[in-house]
Chain length 97, copies 4
């Protein structure tokens, strides 16, 4: 699950703060869906809408992390000498995104 | 946000239980991502992988709810007389899914 | 590939005309990408942009066909008595859409 | 549409050949969908299946081009000095992919 925590590359601290703040907000959104699902009057399409909204929020957090990764780690890969590995692991995440 | 809680159509109780159980599990997964983002050693690609996994879990919950909605509410719409409205609201959720 | 051409349900003629017209336009767009790929000066991101544009056009054609299918065939399924089959085959197409 | 044909970066010739070959095959697949839509007996779900298959083929071509772009152009961006521009234009294509 956390294959790279041992190498020197880390998520940029400022981006990490932004992602953390937004992820906590997604958690609150998810709590709302849980309450919705606890209610026997809940309508299917309302659940589908909320799931879609949460996925949109997660996509946007992913975009912020991806942008930072491209800038700080992928764009410097040739200079660092690990381009093949960096591209392979990134493609693995981007496929069927 | 919950435009249809007033009409008579409701998410099937059994499906609601399944979705609720899985959604609570997604909440636990999200807690894991929050902890990951609190850790200054966290690597970008590990975050991206976890976001992708959570979105996959949400997709599968959405599929279960959608299947139930199609069976219990959309397939019966012509007989009930609200096909145009049911299709319009469903398309709104499915577009760019 | 065309498992259902034998049963009585058919794509609505008007929708079929719209989809046909747009699909021919997508074909023209694809010809443009082929020419782009025949050109040795072509830049990767320009190809990615064109692929994304074609997929957007295909998504929109799919939405028109899906909307018609929901209205004419899924909403009438309970009345016709084939709801389970109709929902199963539709879910198969919508999954991971 | 082809904003970068003037700069020096080009799609790798070998990858371009692979993408070209596959894109011509997608064109053949699209011809099949056009013929399908010309047939008045065509069933909605068969069209949706074919559209999904073509989008899958386009995704896979896009992945090959993206992988090559990451390796040959993005991984070398810091060394070349255009990382910010390269990342911005790539994010524009990857968003909501």
């Amino acid at each position: 699950m956390e294959a790279h925590t041992t190498h020197c590359l880390r998520l940029d601290p400022e981006v990490r703060e932004v992602a953390l703040k937004r992820m906590r907000s997604v958690k609150g959104h998810l709590d709302g869906i849980v309450r919705m699902l606890e209610n026997e009057h809940t309508y299917c399409v309302d659940v589908l809408k909320q799931i879609k909204a949460v996925e949109g929020a997660l996509d946007r957090i992913g975009d912020v992390v991806l942008q930072s990764h491209l800038k700080h780690h992928v764009a410097t890969a040739a200079a660092r000498g690990d381009a093949d590995q960096m591209v392979a692991e990134l493609m693995d995440v981007l496929k069927y995104r």
